[in-house]
């Protein structure tokens, strides 16, 4: 849990860096983070290893600078109202990191409702843009509390499309479908397996394989030699703490 030279990173800060890493190498695309930790992550990526990323103010503006959370940009480099945002989604020049009420081993995601769709036990948001996102631009997920209720055997309503459902729907569905990363408060996961099912990419510092398995609602093997998630560097910690999130909002989403 060391950020180097005696600076110790908390779990939320490890998650910020893991989210930031999802956008590494993406080039000049729109980063669309949902949630506080991914928002800090996207801004951190832009300030460090991904300077070409496009960032929105959460409304209709593309920001030329990188303000702290909650602050307005001092300079604007573009206009992106909802209808143009939908065109960017369809055009693929975007990498979104969404939330998930449920996510299965194939990457099917649900934000619509829990229980039978016709009369749900819990109505949630609705599918929003998840069906379009997953078929058109890379879609990663952020799960602030990794638990068996979120990482489930089968989701109740496929909002975001996973690898098996895309394959079953045919070439138009798989053509631009990609789920690069799932970041949780315990681990980083991906689908870089022959059958495109979820695997552990790295365990966050201090998390055990048994702890991860217990928090997952399906069998998720943790290889003996699985790496640890990269801790933040001293400079990254400074940017997170002093520049992007000086009010410490990240701790409300992930404890520690």
């Amino acid at each position: 849990m060391s950020g180097g030279r005696g600076v110790s990173a908390g779990r939320a800060e490890v998650c910020v860096v893991a989210c930031a890493e999802a956008w590494r190498g993406d080039g000049e695309v729109l980063a669309s983070p949902m949630g506080v930790v991914p928002t800090i992550g996207a801004r951190l990526a832009r300030l460090t290893f991904a300077p070409d990323l496009l960032l929105t103010d959460g409304e209709a503006l593309l920001m030329a600078d990188v303000p702290a959370l909650g602050a307005r940009p001092r300079a604007v480099e573009g206009w992106l109202p909802f209808r143009r945002h939908l065109a960017v989604v369809a055009g693929g020049r975007r990498h979104v990191m969404m939330g998930a009420a449920q996510l299965d081993r194939h990457g099917n995601q649900n934000i619509s409702c829990v229980g039978d769709w016709h009369r749900p036990d819990r109505q949630l948001l609705g599918v929003r843009g998840a069906p379009a996102n997953t078929l058109n631009n890379p879609t990663s997920y952020w799960i602030p509390r990794h638990s068996p209720r979120v990482l489930v055997e089968k989701v109740d309503m496929v909002s975001g499309v996973g690898y098996d459902r895309a394959a079953a729907a045919g070439p138009s569905a798989t053509r631009f479908h990609r789920i690069p990363r799932v970041v949780t408060d315990l681990a980083v996961l991906d689908f870089e397996t022959p059958d495109r099912t979820m695997r552990v990419r790295s365990l966050h510092p201090g998390v055990t394989a048994a702890e991860l398995q217990a928090a997952t609602g399906f069998a998720l093997e943790v290889p003996r030699d699985v790496p640890r998630t990269r801790p933040p560097s001293a400079e990254e910690l400074r940017l997170i703490r002093e520049v992007i999130d000086p009010d410490g909002l990240r701790a409300r989403e992930v404890r520690g």
């Binding site: 989604v89 109505q123 948001l125 599918v127 069906p131 379009a132 078929l135 569905a173």
Partner: protein, 282 residues
């Protein structure tokens, strides 16, 4: 025209599109007028916010066409949520982009438009009426044919309008209000302030003139007409009021009290009750 006069053109059983997005620039004065009328059995087409919540709570909605219902700063619309969990509203749940192309198809008088969104998702399962089409070109791609969302009427709220029905937005996002008007047989536009056509120049360039009079049937001057949703730059969302709205939705008793206090009179009574609420909170 007044909001009540506009709503007098609507009939039970109609398909009504409501502009804005989530808890932003919703034509709330028109929605409140709708609540005062006897119109019911509506099919409501909306990027849903408290417009959906209020109409569902009042039992006016038979069918809802939406991709979500949210209050933005409060993620879940409480009345929509309760109605769904009771099983008493029929839902056509579409993706946000499918919704836009459905309106676009209607505006262009096309039966459908093809999109990739929806394939592989349960949007196709829970809406068994949705069909796919195969591209007639060499790619041969199979895509979703989003049916036209043709509206009997559209209700939208903008910052400025002239008496003939041209309307201007001054915030950063047009949402889809022009599309709602173009997809509808009749459109009613409420505005913060009625101006003469020369007055538009004060607000911004010609690209801020979003809605054209050729598709508008009535204009209503309604200052504060989007309250409690936002109508920037004229005003932000009234977060304190919205929180009270959401809290009152938690139970039938609290909701009756809220409705009695704020929704039992006309728009002037509403404004007075809101002023009283705001002073009480200050």
């Amino acid at each position: 025209m007044t909001a009540d006069e506009a709503v007098a053109h609507l009939e039970s059983g109609m398909t009504v599109g409501i502009g804005g997005w989530g808890s932003r620039r919703k034509p709330m004065a028109l929605v409140r007028a709708l609540l005062r009328s006897d119109v019911r059995d509506l099919t409501v087409v909306s990027y849903g916010g408290p417009d959906v919540g209020l109409l569902v709570a009042a039992g006016r909605v038979r069918k809802l066409v939406a991709a979500f219902a949210t209050l933005d700063s409060i993620p879940l619309e409480p009345h929509f949520r309760a109605a769904r969990q009771r099983g008493d509203v029929e839902l056509v749940e579409l993706d946000e982009a499918m919704f836009m192309w459905g309106l676009t198809a209607a505006a262009h008088r096309l039966p459908f438009l093809p999109v990739r969104a929806g394939l592989g998702s349960d949007v196709m399962t829970v809406n068994p009426c949705l069909r796919t089409v195969t591209s007639p070109y060499e790619d041969g791609e199979e895509l979703v044919a989003v049916p036209a969302l043709t509206l009997d009427a559209a209700l939208v709220h903008l910052n400025r309008a002239d008496a003939r029905g041209n309307a201007q937005y001054l915030g950063p996002d047009p949402y889809f209000d022009d599309l709602f008007c173009e997809a509808a047989r009749e459109a009613y536009v409420s505005c913060e302030r009625l101006v003469d056509s020369a007055g538009f120049a004060e607000g911004g360039g010609p690209q801020t003139l979003l809605v054209q009079r050729s598709c508008v049937n009535g204009v209503i001057e309604a200052p504060g007409g989007a309250h409690f949703t936002s109508c920037v730059p004229d005003y932000d969302r009234d977060e304190a009021f919205q929180a009270a709205y959401a809290a009152a939705a938690a139970g039938p008793g609290a909701w009756r009290e809220f409705a009695d206090r704020f929704l039992s009179g006309d728009e002037d009574a509403y404004r007075a009750a809101v002023d009283d609420f705001t002073e009480g909170a200050a």
